[in-house]
């Protein structure tokens, strides 16, 4: 076992619709170590996105404990959570979530901007990241000028530009055709080979098949957590 990045114990989370309590996550226990490549698999409404939001420090749990890189997240302020999101987590979303009026390069620079990295270094790091995903020729284009696959590659570049402890991807191939989806997954494979830790949330069996560990979630509970022999396809 490598160094533990994420450790969640007995985590609960509910939503309220009016006064009616809707439990979203029940007694979640999960740990993720460095350089793991895992999938959280589940149908829509299973609570997987809620879990990803909590893991991504975008949301807080109702009870239980969550350690990220040794810090008890429940005790961190909003400011410290923002610092973790900016410096240690890279998000990749199903709908890409690029800011439409910024160029691809500016989009990728944004997390570095919030980390307070000066302009020149920001630009150099962003160009590197875009080169890694094969978008070095698209720096000045706006997101609208890119294909779906290219947008997702730009989003991956934005996720890896800060060299985060973990990349959280929410249905990263959900809006792409299977060929393009495959290309995107190959990029994730490459990041993993280079030592990155990747957590993908998906309902797609094909995505699940290629990783080293599959956590299945159903009605807010983890029903299986299977570790494969091979870690990289």
């Amino acid at each position: 076992m490598g160094e533990t990045i994420i450790e969640i114990k007995n985590l609960f989370k509910s939503y309220y619709i009016g006064h009616v309590e809707i439990p979203a996550l029940k007694k979640i226990n999960i740990a993720v170590t460095k350089n793991q490549y895992l999938v959280i698999k589940g149908q829509s409404g299973s609570g997987k996105s809620t879990l990803m939001h909590i893991i991504g420090c975008l949301d807080r749990s109702d009870s239980g404990s969550y350690y990220f890189d040794g810090h008890l997240v429940e005790e961190l302020s909003d400011l410290e959570l923002a610092e973790i999101r900016g410096g240690k987590i890279g998000f990749v979303f199903q709908s890409f979530n690029l800011i439409p009026r910024l160029s691809i390069l500016k989009n990728v620079e944004l997390p570095l901007f919030y980390l307070g990295i000066p302009g020149g270094e920001r630009s150099a790091l962003s160009r590197d990241a875009l080169t890694r995903v094969g978008l070095e020729h698209r720096l000045t284009h706006s997101p609208a000028e890119l294909s779906g696959g290219e947008k997702q590659r730009a989003a991956i570049a934005r996720a890896i530009v800060t060299n985060p402890s973990i990349i959280l991807a929410d249905e990263p191939t959900g809006n792409l055709d299977s060929k393009t989806g495959e290309d995107i997954l190959k990029i994730f494979d490459g990041i993993h080979r280079d030592g990155g830790t990747i957590l993908i949330v998906t309902h797609n069996e094909k995505v699940a098949e290629r990783v080293g560990r599959i956590v299945t979630i159903l009605d807010g509970e983890i029903v299986s957590d299977i570790e494969m022999a091979r870690t990289t396809p």
Binding site: D59, N97, R101
Partner: protein, 399 residues
Amino acid sequence: MIDIILMALESIMLNKVRSFLTMLGVVIGVASVILLVSLGEGTREYVSHELMGVGTNLLVITPGKTETTGHAPPQSSTSRKLTYNDTMYLKRNAFTLKDVAPIVIGTSKIKYRNRSRDILTLGVTNSFQNVRNLHVEIGSFITDEDVEFHRKVVVIGRTVKKELFEDENPLGKMVWLAGVKYRIVGIMEKKGVSLGFDIDDLVFIPLLSAQDLFDTDKITEILVEAINAETVDMAKEETIQLLKKRHDNKEDFSVVTQASLLSTLNTILKVLTYVIGAIAGISLIVGGIGIMNIMLVSVQERTKEIGIRKAIGAQNSDILKQFLFESTIISSFGGVTGILIGAGIAYAIPLFFPVVPVKVSLWSVILAFSFSAAVGIFFGAFPAQKAAKLNPVEALMYE
């Protein structure tokens, strides 16, 4: 910091028409503040300047006690008059007075050949030219002998000379003044209009001749000049004491210093300037509400973007700054534009209407700019707070 400002500028430029219209509210507000305050300040300066030209060492004595407030009792209308002897008494006995100039004011018809006009006629002594700082350009002014011997001599103003004589030399010529023949002995230097009163459209005759002409022994007012500005109060006190002695120990006259008149006028005009400035300021607040409205729309529109920014590490303060800079840039830019337009119009006014006094004062510019920037911060704060406090998950899900 510069990056956040650039970011805010980018958002502003993205919605050019909307930003421009939002800015317009501030531009109009600031421009009207600058313009109206400039007019007010200009008027105040003009009035002060004109009064200063008359001299701040000056005291004006008028018959009747008028410095009390409220309605005067009915019998006060029979106030005791001021006389030439009062004047002579002051002149002989006062230590703190430099000069004393009694004036009789009336109107008469002046006629030369077939030209005639109604004219404001001042009966004066030689002291008048020193006290009022008005001088003869050609010939000589009224002398003390002219007064003493009731001489029928007249000194005419520039406008009178032009109207009656055109290019002719009037010195030594005879004119009819209210049916009495007068000889012209001097022509005043050109002074122009002052406080709506055309100094050049006057004639001066010896005081006692004027009393004969208007069939009176009253003096309209006595101008008294103190030795210097510091002794004005002393001069006032001495004048009152001396005149009371001659008036059965009753203070049935008023002594007003030019300085007190000046400061009263100044206060009135200052208050007036502030009031019109404040009224114009209301439009600035309306402009601020416009900014708040647009910023709220902008926050709503960019909810998803705020979610993305938060997900990739933006802190609440980063989001707050971004929106606050945006509203402040809009209002400050509107402020600068408003200042330029307001000052531009203010400076242009005298080109078209030379009689309208205008003064763009630095304090109004600084105040208007600070106020417009403050409006941006104040009215931008609520939308920016709203943006900063958005829940990142909800913002990300927003479509």
